[in-house]
């Protein structure tokens, strides 16, 4: 199955190959993540993958579709991995299971399966869970917390109590809360000096996870699985709005670099808004899609009530993708002027 527009120069771009490469590209990020919080993230990846495959098989069976062909395309695994990477690593097991079921059953198969879903399933799962379980979805382990695998497993399976060390905020959330509590008295430079939470550029440790995603994303681009338009426009949108506000008031708005390396910015830029199904397909459309998603993500994460804004920004832009695609149809080769 091909998704690229003509002239089909790409060779062997079957869905399963694309999905495998996307999974491979996630590995640098996952490695940094596992180094940061321990093996819990691997446990969550396994839980999400198993749930996704089971849900996918059940839905395909219900819909009377060939199991082997659709199961082996790997799209469910990519969705599952994105869910595991965006959920808190020590979340109880049922949270990831609920999110994955919601993504596969409601966001993917009720809309007609792979290629028909108007929304990115992983982002639907994130939005549904953060709206439904706001407390559990914002409990991130404090950085530097060293827990052996067995203890982490116990927390995930609900066998051990959820202690305070597990209920930190993300660096983004911590900064927003501190600024709100400070009521204009606290400035960013002062906050960033706290080396428990913040590192050289952004959240301590988390910045390297973001760099891992960046490496994977650049590899995907180099292998021509994604084009540069959407990620660059997304980063551009976020840098533009955060840069303007930062120059205007550096004491209460963090630098663009902080925002690039925090939260889901780079994961979103390379792995989520480049989704060929729910995103735009025309080059100009991808630019508009990415730019607006970057702006919205910044606005929601800085001025909104949720810890991060990437998921909601992507969902809002998914809604507008068909319209953008229609308005940015490229000129047909051999035709003159506008076709409309």
């Amino acid at each position: 199955m091909m998704f690229a527009p003509a002239p089909y120069l790409l060779k062997d771009a079957s869905v399963s190959r694309v999905m495998t490469m996307v999974c491979l590209a996630l590995i640098p990020g996952i490695t940094a993540y596992a180094w940061l919080v321990g093996p819990a993230i691997l446990v969550q990846l396994v839980i999400a993958s198993v749930t996704a495959i089971a849900a996918e098989a059940a839905m395909l069976k219900l819909r009377g579709k060939p199991l082997a062909m659709f199961l082996s395309d790997g799209s469910a695994i990519v969705t599952a991995w994105l869910i595991a990477l965006t959920f808190p690593p020590l979340a109880p097991w049922w949270l990831v299971v609920t999110g994955t079921l919601f993504a596969i059953v409601i966001a993917k198969h009720l809309y007609g399966g792979l290629g028909q879903n108007p929304f990115n399933p992983a982002m639907v799962a994130f939005a549904a869970c953060i709206v439904s379980f706001p407390a559990l979805m914002s409990q991130w382990p404090s950085v530097g917390l060293q827990m052996p695998l067995l203890d982490q497993l116990n927390v995930i399976l609900g066998l051990a109590p959820r202690v305070d060390a597990l209920s930190g905020a993300t660096p983004l959330d911590a900064m927003k809360t501190a600024l709100k509590l400070g009521e204009g008295q606290v400035d960013i430079a002062h906050l960033l000096a706290n080396q428990d939470i913040y590192g050289n550029f952004a959240g301590r440790g988390w910045e390297w996870v973001a760099v891992g995603y960046l490496l994977g994303g650049l590899w995907l681009w180099q292998r021509k699985l994604i084009t540069w338009h959407a990620p660059l426009a997304f980063i551009g949108g976020m840098v533009l709005i955060s840069g303007v506000l930062w120059l205007y008031q550096p004491a209460s708005f963090a630098s663009p670099l902080f925002h690039l390396l925090s939260g889901g910015t780079l994961l979103g830029a390379f792995f989520i808004i480049t989704d060929p199904v729910s995103g735009c397909t025309t080059p100009r459309g991808k630019l508009i899609f990415g730019f607006c998603a970057g702006l919205l993500a910044y606005i929601i994460r800085v001025f909104g009530g949720f810890p991060d804004g990437v998921a909601f920004a992507v969902l809002l832009m998914n809604l507008s993708a068909p319209l953008i695609d229609q308005l940015t149809q490229p000129r047909i080769f051999g035709m003159k002027g506008k076709q409309s």
């Binding site: 609920t98 549904a128 709206v131 439904s132 706001p134 559990l136």
Partner: protein, 232 residues
Amino acid sequence: MTRDEFSTIAYNGLWKQNTALAQLLGLCPLLAVSTNIVNGVMLALATIIVMALANVAVAMLRNLIPHEIRIPVFILIVAALVTVVDLLFNAQLHELYVVLGIFIPLIVTNCIVLARVEAFAAKNPPLNSTVDGIFMGLGLLWTLAVLGAMRELLGSGTLFSGIDMVFPSLSPIQVLPADYPGFLLGLLPPGAFILLGCMIAWKNWMDARAAERAKRRPPTPEAIADTAEAGA
């Protein structure tokens, strides 16, 4: 009214033209109030009273109402009846009245009421109209009850919460264990949309299955004679 007419009206109200699942009318109160069974059922009961009385009133006055200004007249009749129900709830079930809030007065603008008055009561005798109002309301009632039960169960793990506002001697049932975290989406409007969508899909699936079965059943001799006649 013949038996046939009665069963047609009842079948239309309860299933075929179900206000929520087929006509998709009055979605605003439907989605806002169906957070639990008690709220949903009580609002549906209020709507049934209004619909039955409005249908009788309009059916009796239908030959006196000038065609050109019929809509304002219908609205006046409905508004008068809603005021009665509103005051009744305020006096008898005050706690529930506070919970349902604006949605009782809003029955005036509920398209179901106006739609039945315009589409049925204005063209039919009073008795048929009453039955139509009651059964359309009952269709709404069971839909709201099922939707409310699903949302309540998903969102908070209970059933019949708030029943003590109607019957002080009864108390809600805790179906799921007390430490159930509550899937909040069920209680929020998006959850109501998703669950209503599932119910509509279920109704369409049941209808499709029934149609399939009817097609597979061997045709009766009369039907064969009919088609032969039509062919000739």
